[in-house]
Amino acid sequence: MTFLDHLFIVVFISLIAISALRNLRIVDKLAPVLYGLILIMLVRMSSVAYGGDVYLSSVSLDLLDFKMHWQFTALSWYFAIITVVAALASAVFMSGDWGRQYREQGGNYGMLQLALIVNVFSMILLLGSGDLLSLFIGWEFVSWASFLMMVLSPTKLAKKSAVKYIVYAMTGAMALMVAIVMIYSVNNSLEFKQIGEVFTQMSTSSQLALVLLFFVAFAIKMGLLPFHLWQAIAYAETPGPGAAFLGAISSRMGMFTIVLVIVQFIGLGGLKQLGISFVNMQTLLAWVAALTTIIPTYIALQQHDAKRLLAWHGVGQGGYMLLGIIMFDSIGSAGGLMHVLNHASYQAALFMTVVAVMYRTGTSDLNKLGGLVTQMPLTFLVMLIGIIGLAGLPPMNGFVSKWLVYRSLLVNGQPLLFVAAVLGTLGTILSVYKLIHNTFLGQLRLEHQNVREVPWSMLVPMLGLSIIVFITGFMPGLILPWIASVQESVGLPVIAHHLGGIEYAKGGLDMIWVSGILFYGFGVGALIFYFLGGKSKRVHQYDNYAGGHFLTSDVRYHYSNNFYPGLMHLIGGWYRGSFKWLENSIVSVVSFFSIFFENIYRAKQPVMLLLIGVVLALFALYRNLGVGA
């Protein structure tokens, strides 16, 4: 029995325990304990993240001549720890008052708990896969587990988008299956290392097909362009903490497999040899990534529902991850990998703040909120930290990973990709400001006068996550050894790091200093503000006037709708829904053919057709037999 076996056993027992006890109140308290236990099991294996040996599971399955086994590499461990922490935070979040309210509103709380543990179970299974078959099985499990979580929401839209998701996911699974079959048919083996060996033996067209099939499969999960349409709505409609969990980590399983398969076994050389002149697979993927940062981000800018807005950003941030890893150098890939953790931490925190606001006010419509900072200051703080992380500004962790990606683009001389990445970041700043402004700043609505801060069961995970956001931004060196082990295990150049950041000739980064200076600046600013000036007088927000009129609470003057009219004037015409159009046209093509076949089946006289066939066959036979005789 290895530590990995213990991990699997604990996860499996948790699955059984939660599914058995899901309708009892005890599950509230039990679930966080179980996730904590899983976390301990993972921490016991942490040596793998510091350059230690790969953990092999002693269990292996011989099914139908296929050998399936499981292992935990640094890569698996890195994604697993993010998954489990996200699950733990979500479980704590829903264990108290949120869960009570959810039950009272008729939600199936037990199923939500079950869906969460099923997700964790399937993700651990996927992350632990040791060959292509176990990878495929884990992959399918993850898809269906997400589906289970998504369908829990009672709204019609949620169910519809869940079904849409499962169709997308199935398409991806089928693409993955073909790719696996292509590999198997060469050497009759499903080991991971076959990917690389088979790839070198293949013809160029097969190589291209293989890379595209793998990429399509993984891109669908990750919601990369042009497969981004399913994700945002499906995640946004998932109930509360479920959305936080899915938004944090679920679609990153696509990133895991991209690193595992495309980066590790096909590699830069493999991608570069596919293409003509300066356009090769690497550039193609890099541009897919760049467009994924831009387009979903600007779609997010248009949303007026907080959860949708965040979910669309989740799609967009996936682009940074791919953009970083596809550069294949030490800093870029470190940035891409690190962004997975960073994104998970602030995205989960942000989703939780929105859910917290919904818990108190019942809505996440940005046009119906405002001014809540005085009522829910801690939630505001979490959201502030979260949006600084999401926008990638110092001193939060999002800045570090994005800095690494930028630096890599700079080193590799990619100005257009660089601008694309910056365009994404700026769009994010605009959009997250709108989020925090419309929720917490501005006018407080009359009906929200009595709103209070959310209870501690919800605050603790939110605050915990924001501490992670800050600490890993302040001392990225806590995470960077893990990243370095991952890079080493998948054969990428390894990043030189220290506690504060990275060492790099011609311009490194030391976040301890950078954050320190920033806080020094804030300190000086505060000194100037509080000690140099006269005393300020706090006034109520209604002690205010605009345009020569006093503003009162019965007049709504919160500036929220169409927040950036100038920008929208200019770029509004670009929102044409081309991808929606594409999706619809595919559906139209399928229905065209299905009507065609339906008409065939409707043919009233198949008997006549058969008889004509018989006569023709007889005639041909007569000729043939005549000659034969």
């Binding site: 011989d62 099914l63 139908l64 078959l133 495929f136 099985i137 399918e140 499990f141 269906w144 369908v151 009672p154 019609k156 169910k159 519809k160 869940a162 079904v163 499962i166 169709v167 199935m170 398409t171 089928m174 693409a175 299956m177 073909v178 079959v181 292509m182 198997y184 048919s185 399928v590 229905s591 053919f593 299905s594 009507i595 076949f597 339906e598 065939i600 089946y601 409707r602 043919a603 198949p606 008997v607 057709l609 058969l610 008889l611 066939g613 018989v614 066959a617 007889l618 041909a620 036979l621 043939n624 037999l625 034969g628």
Partner: protein, 491 residues
């Protein structure tokens, strides 16, 4: 071993005496059929053990092959005989008022057993026709609950037309073979495949395939499927879709494996299989009620089975057999469930709330149908695709693409349906038929078998592989039936 002849004789005899018995005691006539089937099951089991991993030939009527009648018995035929007995027992019309129906079911069983066991073309044709007649009769005689009687009659009539056209083609194909070779014994034919090479032989195979394909829901001749399944009782749909279609498939593959081992024949099956898969799934995608959806999905599944059989040799039989058994369980189960779910899909809203168990059973079936791990359907699909890829050749790659595309479409429509099940009930939704019959219990049983088989994927697969290896070999077949003919003769 000769006792196995009773498999055919007993039901046939029962079919004739039931009307007479019914005159005296209706109760007795009701139980005659099940008793006969149970006896048959016992016979099959004892034969299964006796045959072991080998096979037996039974010569009837005092003549030796190639002239005499031969039954060929191996695990393959015994497996399907067992399934016939079990399936007919499950759908036995307990609540029928007329003894006529019992007779017809007995006739159907007798024909089915004969079809599985016979080793010469003439007998195969006879049993096939008998099966067809029994089916028409059952369709026409069955009590119709939901639809006006006239449409059932019309469907039955149209089925009769197309089916008899198919029979004509089958007969024509047999006639051509006889013209070319002068024999109808399959083993004998297997020794002289060379005279069946070329266009004439191939067209004979095509005629047989399409002729039998009418029952096997093969692509161009399956327009009856939705109509007939839509009007007849669900148990009967389960029987037709689950079992009778497989028997026709068995006829086709017997010919394919023993006599027509040519690439052109494989390609023919591959193409009709592909067309069946894609057309079936696409039409099912537009279906608005459950029976229609299941009917077209059944067409697609049969297409998948044909694709599997287009893989040469025992592998094709192995995978095809697994697919057939899986489809029998899944589609049989789904049709049995449909007894409770009939009508327009929109009316089924809220079913999951009303009956979570039914929804769960339904999910188990469809997930396996889609090939989601760890359900058995996944392994079968994986094996199918891996083996198709091994075949090489463009057409096989097109087949892989077709299967996977079809799976995506299948997911889309099935989950559109699942979504309806899990929606809130509204004014439109009809309460589910509460006084459901035993069929739902059997559906649950099927789901249970499916779940249990999940745990025994490897042994089951190995067993099927052994059976396939044995049954797909023309050498063994010839040796058993025509011991005098040696392998050398098979030039």
């Amino acid at each position: 071993m000769n006792s196995l002849v009773l498999l055919v004789v007993l039901p046939l005899f029962a079919a004739f005496i039931i009307p007479v018995v019914a005159k005296f005691s209706p109760k007795l006539s009701l139980f005659t059929g099940p008793v006969v089937l149970c006896i048959n099951l016992l016979l099959i089991m004892s034969a299964w053990i006796k045959v072991g991993s080998g096979s037996e030939a039974i010569f009837l009527g005092g003549f030796l092959p190639p002239v005499g009648i031969v039954f060929y018995i191996d695990h393959f035929s015994l497996l399907f005989s067992g399934l016939i007995a079990g399936m007919v027992l499950i759908v036995w019309p307990w609540d029928a008022k007329e003894s006529r129906l019992y007779s017809l079911y007995m006739l159907l069983s007798a024909a089915s057993f004969g079809l599985v066991l016979s080793a010469d073309l003439f007998n195969l044709y006879v049993f096939y026709e008998l099966l067809a007649v029994a089916t028409y009769g059952i369709i026409a005689a069955s009590p119709i609950s939901k639809v006006p009687n006239s449409s059932a009659t019309a469907a039955s009539l149209r089925y009769l037309f197309i089916s008899s056209a198919g029979s004509v083609m089958l007969l024509l194909g047999i006639a051509i073979i006889y013209t070319l070779t002068g024999t109808l014994n399959i083993a004998h034919l297997a020794t002289m495949t060379t005279s069946l090479d070329g266009f004439a032989g191939l067209s004979a195979f095509a005629l047989i395939a399409i002729g039998a394909g009418v029952k096997a829901e093969m692509f161009p001749v399956n327009s009856w499927v939705a109509e007939v399944y839509g009007t007849i009782p669900r148990q009967l749909s389960a029987l037709l879709a689950g079992l009778v279609s497989k028997l026709a498939v068995i006829l086709i593959i017997r010919m394919l494996l023993m006599v027509f081992q040519q690439q052109a024949a494989f390609d023919l099956l591959l193409v009709v299989g592909m067309l069946g898969v894609i057309s079936g799934e696409m039409v099912a995608w537009r279906a608005k009620d459950m029976i229609r959806m299941l009917s077209f999905s059944s067409i697609a599944q049969l297409g998948l089975i044909f694709i599997a059989f287009s893989i040469a040799g025992s592998k094709g039989l192995w995978i095809g057999m697994a697919l057939m058994l899986h489809h029998l369980l899944v589609k049989g189960g789904l049709f049995l469930m449909a007894d409770r779910f009939a009508g327009h899909m929109g009316k089924l809203k809220g079913l999951a709330k009303h009956s979570p168990m039914a929804a769960a059973v339904f999910l188990v079936f469809v997930l396996s149908l889609l090939g989601v791990p760890p359900f058995p359907g996944f392994w079968i699909k994986l094996l199918l695709i891996l083996n198709l890829a091994e075949q090489g050749g463009g057409l096989y790659h097109v087949a892989i693409a077709t299967i996977l595309l079809a799976t995506v479409i299948e997911t889309a429509y099935i989950f559109k349906f699942v979504r309806i099940l899990y929606q809130k009930a509204d004014a439109d939704s009809t309460p589910i038929n509460k006084n459901y019959s035993s069929s739902y219990t059997f559906a649950k049983l099927f789901a249970l078998i499916l779940l249990v088989s999940m745990l025994f994927v490897s042994p089951i697969s190995n067993h099927l592989k052994d059976i396939a290896n044995h049954s797909a070999s023309p050498h063994i077949y010839i040796n058993k039936i025509l011991p005098t003919k040696q392998l050398g003769d098979r030039s």
